[in-house]
Amino acid sequence: MSPKRAVVICGAWLVLITGLHAWLNVNWDVVLNDFRPPAQRKIVVAYIPVTCQLTCPVTDYISKFSENGELFLPRMFQGFPEIKEALISNKVQAAFIVAPLAIALAAQGVPIKVVYLGHRYGSALVVKKNGPVKIFRDLKGRTVAIPSRFSDERLILFRAMKVWGMKPGDIRMVEMAPPDVSGALAAGAIDGFVMGEPFPSQAEMGGYGRVLFQARDYWPDYMSCILVVQQDLIDKRPETVQVLVDGIARSGLWLEKGRTYREDAADFVGRYYYNQKPALLRWALTKPMDRVVYSQLAPRKADFDMVRDLMIETGVLNKRIEFNQYTDTRFSDQASNQTAWKYDPGLAAAK
């Protein structure tokens, strides 16, 4: 082989692999979106595959069948740190993140506003089935996984500890990526975990996990994931934010219409968005039906004040930031007039 031939082969490989990638993997919709005039550009909404953010893929899926077409470009992430980085560098304009993270970011001066909630309830403390932990007090001195130091799951654990008269250091908390906790529990690497659905369901279905308590047992109106939007987008294109919030609100109402709707959502979200088994999502969404709730999703001051105070108390926030500094409720006020999507599975039309 001569050097010239080696160069030709390398060049041909470069062209071939680039062409194949452009053909097989590149989402041209997203690429072209960056070249549209700013006013027509679709916003990118970030989410991770958990049920507290189910309204995001549901809205995307149903709106595709509606007259106006899809409302935004959904973008799946694998964890909150990456969403946070994409958000503060303005690579995504809206994102579903955990409420304490939003408060912390706002307190650090990141220009974002909370406009809506993802859901209520839907987090649980899971321990090993038939393991040594029978009641909450047995967790003393053991290890429990939480998704992030800025998570409602961590706060609910602190609330439960207070009720049982435990001191802050009595339970060892470790931060873990949600997808890993089920395996870690089964392998005995941790004694329990507090996570959002569908990970508690996964441990239950697998037969090695037992729900010790649901979030609502220690926190009556528990909320975890919320929708934040860049301040810049609110200032320049409030109507776009309204369309987004309306769509999310309508999906929440649609999910509350009954079991068949939730089962349908489990099916298409599992298949086309989360890449999770539909049976797993069906379990999380319907066993029982109020395991996850998609109503009363307008941001409420009392909820956020409580999260903020718990954050200060547990040392992850050092500033008393006020509700109206990091929320914008006009969009949820408007959205309260909305009705559920008129979409029936299989009709391929939505209104």
């Binding site: 050097p3 680039t18 993997n25 973008r75 799946m76």
Partner: protein, 260 residues
Amino acid sequence: MRDEHATRTNLLLLWRPLAFIALLLLLWEIGIRRQASHLLPGPWGVVGGIVDLVRHGLLLKYIVASLFRVTWGFALAVVTAIPLGLAVGWYRRAEMALNPILQILRPISPLAWIPIAILWFGVGDLAAIFLIFVGCFFPLMLTAIDAVQSIPAVYVNAGRNFGLSSAALVYRVLYPAVVPKLIVGLRITLGIAWLVVVAAEMIAVSSGLGFLIVDARNAGNRYDLVVAGMLIIGIIGLLLDLGMQSLEKVKSFRWGYSED
């Protein structure tokens, strides 16, 4: 008689690793059957996982995505780091000026750049390509510097004595003198690129073999796909290395290697 002996040796060479792999697979299967919780897949489960990936058309897509990122990240590092390294190696003063900063940047794992890569490039191909570029740039540059500096002075002096112009000196003396070292450096660096792409894809993108592994973790109890992904990563890494080895067979590059 000699030929027959040679074939037998060849067969033995081929059979020994295969037999060893078969033994490992057997031990794996036995180990899986003996464990109580059924989280880890056996060899058959992994084959099923690969078949699943092929059936959904994902395997080709993900392999192409990973190879695309490695190709571009590696190629960009090659076209920047090698000329720069050769120049720096040639001019002593440049090397003295740059060496400390190079030694500081070199030990930083490319994965430490992930947060910055996302801030600069968002999540997508560019962030992953950047991480691979960072991972390849420093080793390649140091190889190039070293390659120039270890050219025996007698080659250069001889070239000058024959009255070669600067351009001719580069083409007829320097280039052939550095190539064997560079090729070894390229081979090692491509291995690094393949290590980095898998890690980068776990965070910054939504396709590729690294993404396949995190996505399988998300999907619940699909550890067969995790192991299938690992296996495919290993096999492609082997093929890439074989491809780089074939560069060593290029005629004008060959002088630096001992005759077999």
